[in-house]
Symmetry: none
Subunit: 208 residues, 4 copies
DNA sequence: CATGAATGAGTCTTCATTCAT
DNA sequence: GATGAATGAAGACTCATTCAT
């Protein structure tokens, strides 16, 4: 989403600095939570002056939003990629669930941060940003609904429900399995190791 | 959970005041988020002096926890009741989903608050309380798994997956449908009006 | 100073209650210091309602002053008694030093409280009360100066200095010895056991 | 004790600011007492923002301790210097008393503050710092005892008492004379003008 | 341009005091 | 008269943000 290919050197440096700030912020935020991290801390970790942070981001909240947006981007892009891979519908869905499990496994702290501030977000820091992430997510859900629809049209799936509803169901179902793992990795390790555990429940009714 | 039946008048008044504080706090928290609400605001809204709040709750966090605990208690109790009603397994699950939909409909702000701070909450205010709510929820999931197990034993369900996994699946699936409604009630009204939309997806594979 | 001899019953009860409050306050104050004791605590310890305290004392400071006044009274009275006992000048002074040592020994916490708030008192709670205690103390110093004067007139003391100055000297000298013991009782036990250690230093020059 | 000679400009400014804060705090504390002075007041008087105070001192108590420590340092250093000046024992002791009288005269508010919170301080703010000041004072008393001891060995003093006891006696005796002046400068002016008034009382017995 | 010292509004919390019962 | 629940002013401290260097 953020590309730094053919930019003037100056611009590329800017972008790199921005990334460095975001990376430091991510580490701190996901470790201590939004309100327990001060701009001074971020500045120190990123090895910039506090004032410099304000050259890149209007304020703390702006920085935070940029961070979440980047995380959301990254994840949805990964899911999208998994779903767009050549193959049949079952393979695509399996790819999605596997990609999601991997994303959770590889980025547990990030995810914790993302979801801790993202649900019912009306009242938290995200307030205004909601729409941007929501759109991305809705786009993805639509794309996944397309998979179900195509699968049905091609008779590889039984038409057990509205395709969009199935997309919602799959998302919620995998979320819950992976959240469980997130909350207690030791006890629910199987969920990230074998993503099919969640997926198959849906398939039992879906596959003919 | 909180009974105010045959208590001395003084005690009943205390309880009523406590409730009033909690109600005001809930309204403010769910509107503006934990960190954006001051004790002064709560006091004003509840029409008590600041100091009075501290007669009921040790500090802001304590008040907040009491609130979430109450919400969690209330909901899990409602779900438990629905699931324990006499009837067959299908009826019980249907009852759960209906109760959950009703709970969401009746308590949208509460729920937003509850879920906004409850997922991946390691770094936020809940920290210590987590365990209490988590236990309650795990107890409930176990109970629901029991329903699935019994249904399977009685051949009313196909044994398509581990009963506990089914419980997780149903919870996640309904959550996602209801969250969608929570985020955009106008557009997803059908989810709370017809809880079976979500439930049936699971049933398609489950029912023989 | 406070007598409860021939008073109407009602009055005597009042006085007893007042004493009970003061006693509780003394215990708390000398244990935790003025600012770390709340009226609520005193009320609880004395087994009265908070409001009742305010029937006896205008406010916290007033209660505190009454307490210190009582302590000062008690001590100065004891010193005065020692000094007025029949006998020669040397005996009277010895009596004073012994009484003071005993007072320190018997009332260490009290004294700590008294002196912690009494020196250079302009800025602390005592502010206004100063004068009352100061007068009492000045009266006592004057009385002690009288002893020295009489001793000189009777040729039992050499006239090595102004009698009032000698009184000041003796007071300061014994204070310092006893404070030392107060700060570190284990290490300076001899000072309260043998009051003459301090006194003799003065006598060496004083006695012919 | 605090040197600001050859430091980088920045550092010197820091130190100057710190001193300005301490000076303002001293003035306020000695006028109104520790607990009656707010950080806001100190900040205003020193013409800094409240937050700036917290760049220099961890909290109010820390600021207070720094202040007292500085005062104690300064005074004990002055006394030590007086006592170490070349000369015989009588001269040294005389130097000490004169230095002390001068210190009292020049720093009345400081001293009032110092002694008001330093005696029997177990329950007040000093608690933890006690030891530091106490050690310094004990060191000084020991040094003064050394003077007495040397004087005795050289037959310039009669061996009328334990040298350490004499040190205690001299300290207490001068304290009391000077406190009297502190409490009522008009009436007891002679004490700071002629320090020998106090000293001679001791000498009468001490000198052969 | 980058810096980071200085700012001060805003927060939670305590507790002396009042007054309806 | 006694009670103690309710009050709210006041205080310590934090930290996002600014701006002179």
């Amino acid at each position: 989403v953020i590309k730094d290919e053919k930019l003037p050197r100056r611009e590329r440096e800017k972008l790199a600095q921005r990334q460095e700030i975001l990376a430091s912020a991510l580490e701190l935020f996901s470790e201590k939570g939004y309100r327990n991290v001060s701009m001074a801390e971020i500045a120190e970790k990123a090895e910039f002056a506090i004032g410099t942070l304000y050259k890149f981001f209007e304020n703390k909240e702006d920085l935070y939003r940029a961070l979440l947006l980047q995380v959301a981007d990254k994840f949805l892009a990964a899911f999208m990629t998994a779903i767009e891979k050549p193959g049949d519908e079952v393979g695509k869905l399996r790819g999605y669930v596997a990609a999601k499990a991997k994303a959770f496994r590889d980025n547990a702290p990030m995810i914790r941060l993302y979801f801790s501030e993202t649900h019912g977000a009306r009242q938290n820091v995200l307030a205004g940003m909601d729409s941007r992430v929501r759109e991305m997510r809705e786009g993805f859900l639509g794309r996944m609904a397309g998979i179900f629809e195509s699968g049905m049209r091609r008779r590889r799936f039984r038409r057990i429900a509205d395709p969009y509803h199935l997309a919602i169901a799959l998302e919620g179902l995998t979320n819950n399995f992976l959240f469980l793992w997130l909350d207690d990795p030791a006890h629910h390790a199987s969920f990230v190791e074998d993503p099919d555990i969640a997926l198959n429940i849906l398939f039992k009714g879906l596959l003919p």
